[in-house]
Symmetry: C2
Subunit: 422 residues, 2 copies
């Protein structure tokens, strides 16, 4: 294991209690990056000294909190290369909205984290801190790994299919994919404008809720649930379950039992037909939009693109507007079906991935378990604290109705605490 | 009058018939800009010679078609300054998607057109080609004026409230605001992510449909309607009608009679309560999003902003997430009410503005007539060809159900032809 996660909430409490200072916290984060990132390869650029010094003097609820930022978010004080040789040395004129919002609350942006090219599927160099022979997941590879190794207390990522929930699961940290557009994506390189969703990583669910609340001013981090009484939780079953690793299937059942023993009623929920259809339509939505979002890059530099993203863009360019419209229509129906699913349910419980982080660095793993929920725009939280017999993390997801982000974070936080108490 | 509009369709036909060449068309456009733009002030940057030379050799359906691009669209070969001193000399790394898409079809991007700062309300320097003492409208001021004066055959604009339809009306050209997100906004500076809509200006409705079809590959420019038989057209009435200039009210009635005499049935349509409520909520959606989209700019350069946009951003920063969510919820209900409105109607007919372009350059005029339709995401087309007794253009709008862009263009084209035949 490379490093271990650091709690943003505990850091905040220590600053408030006068036990440490923002400057000391940032110095320690810098030391951890210097010591560990040579092996982890989570960062692709580090903040200039002047930015760190300014952040050490900053005030606000996030003073002293070190953040990593996926390198598809623009930063005015650091290169922003989108994981692509097409943007070598590129330096944006402005910070992405979320970067500016975090700085305004006192946070220190310590560096840019590794991303697959344009947040697509070709792996970055980052390794999994739990086992350097395994992928950290992607596309937010560096953000998940940096938080898991404690190089930073939090990190920004994005999810178009499964790029927050999956790396959070593989690296054993909390990953929060908010309701679509709850966090602004302005200044974040676009892959698919109707799917790209900005989100956050932190050590625990309570930490990620604290960061999201501080950055947005939303009431996301309120009184934790004492127990699960009165909650109706759906155990979501779909055709994809056939591909679950046995230990992941068992972890889901165990998580269900933990919630049940805390007072929740469990209901088996079968995937509605409209959601299966939406999932099947997802690639046409994503790839058509990617081919248009990256039209300039296709025109000027297709030969320089990595093979995975190049193939997606080539396919996207063959999708007709009519086929795209039909896929969007299925996606809309899927969103309605997702809303209907929550008619008498508070939350769904489902695996964040098929199992532990796969061996090898040639793939970032499979986004299949998350893809339909990103399309649905529903909030989802990866809950850390479960593990396979080989010690690798197993991630479970709590998903709620669109707009019910606080509820997703509360149930996920409860499940994490129940798992810790076992 | 400065110049007169040029038909993209006629230019295309002349190229196909061998009567001219793309190079000659572009040379003439360059001459027109050199001769007229000193007074018109539609352009803020012109394409480098190398770009024009490359475009003169380009192939495709838009070869020889000169376009202007609102200066909130990124261009890799020209400065992109968003109408703001904060971005003096700024040069993006990539073309906006629509710029790249138009170039790929052979179009020549001849320059960047004047915009209000960040496409907000502080006027640019452009004058109205019909009367230099009057505003061309905004925020797409330069695009509308450049097309009206025939400096280019088409131009890109954006509309967050009324920034395509209004300047098109004031300058007497066709303006097409598509269904929300039909045209990608990637690489276009964001003001409000749930409202900003990319669109086009051209001499006539048929011209703008031709350009949109060529750029997107959509079937938007198909066989024109022979008459209006079978069409049910709603004459939209709202509380805003009390502010219509008498000649605009008369133009609406005349347009209705023209469609009726061509076979349409006319129905009076009162504004549904849900749309009035959505209109009232619009500023909270727009201003909250603007304050977040331009968070970096507020942090680093608020003192440099022009007073109108500065006031909007200051107000936006005071809107709570709860108030924003409530406004979005009203907007969603408004969108549903707009869809319901088209249950038994093919299109709505309404004024594009309260009247002719107002005297003076201190304001770009009032966006009120368009604002709710941008919020609703419905396609809208400004139909040129009507005029007040002082010779200034009066614009009428055809609005259809979300996704029915072709129908909006077909009805607008018919109305334009009926008006020309009077």
């Amino acid at each position: 294991m490379i490093g271990r996660p650091l709690s943003a909430l505990k850091q905040r409490a220590a600053v408030e209690a006068g036990q440490t200072t923002p400057a000391r916290l940032l110095a320690k984060a810098g030391e951890a990056i210097a010591a560990l990132d040579g092996e982890l390869k989570a960062f692709v650029a580090l903040a200039p000294d002047a930015s760190v010094a300014a952040a050490a003097r900053a005030e606000g609820p996030l003073a002293g909190i070190a953040l990593g930022v996926k390198d598809i978010y623009d930063t005015a004080d650091m290169p922003t290369q989108y994981g692509s040789t097409l943007y070598r040395g590129h330096r944006p004129a402005a910070d992405a909205s979320l970067v500016a919002m975090a700085r305004a609350k006192g946070a220190a942006i310590l560096g840019k984290t590794a991303t697959t090219e344009f947040a697509s599927i070709d792996p970055a160099e980052t390794v999994n801190p739990h086992d350097v022979a395994r992928t950290p997941g992607g596309s937010s590879s560096g953000s998940a790994a940096a938080v898991a190794a404690g190089l930073v207390a939090g990190a920004f990522g994005t999810q178009t299919a499964g790029s927050i929930v999956r790396p959070a699961a593989f690296c054993g940290v909390a990953g929060y994919k908010p309701s679509f557009r709850l966090l602004p994506t302005i200044g974040v390189k676009c892959f698919s404008w109707s799917l790209d969703t900005a989100g956050l990583f932190a050590a625990s669910v309570a930490d990620v809720a604290f960061l999201a609340a501080a950055i947005t001013g939303r009431e996301l981090a309120v009184a934790p649930l004492a127990d699960a009484s009165g909650l109706r939780i759906g155990l979501y079953r779909s055709a994809l379950d056939a591909r679950l690793e046995p230990e992941m299937a068992a972890a889901r059942e165990e998580a269900g039992r933990l919630l049940e023993s805390a007072g929740a009623s469990l209901v088996d929920v079968e995937e509605p037909e409209a959601l299966s259809a939406a999932l099947a339509a997802q690639p046409d939505v994503q790839d058509f939009e990617a081919a248009h979002a990256l039209f300039h890059e296709r025109m000027v530099g297709e030969a320089q693109l990595k093979p995975g993203v190049a193939a997606i863009l080539r396919r996207g360019a063959t999708i007709t507007p009519q086929a795209y419209d039909a896929a969007r229509s299925l996606a809309r129906r899927g969103r309605k079906a997702a809303t209907a699913l929550f008619g008498d349910l508070d939350a769904l419980l489902l695996p964040s991935a098929f199992g532990v982080a796969p061996l090898g660095l040639a793939s970032t793993g499979d986004a299949a378990m998350s893809r339909v929920w990103t399309l649905a725009g529903t909030p989802g939280v990866n809950v850390p604290g479960f593990a396979a017999s080989n010690g690798m993390p197993l991630g479970l997801s709590i998903v709620t109705r669109f707009g019910r982000d606080r509820e997703a974070l509360l149930v996920a936080d409860l499940l994490e605490r129940l798992a810790a108490r076992r």
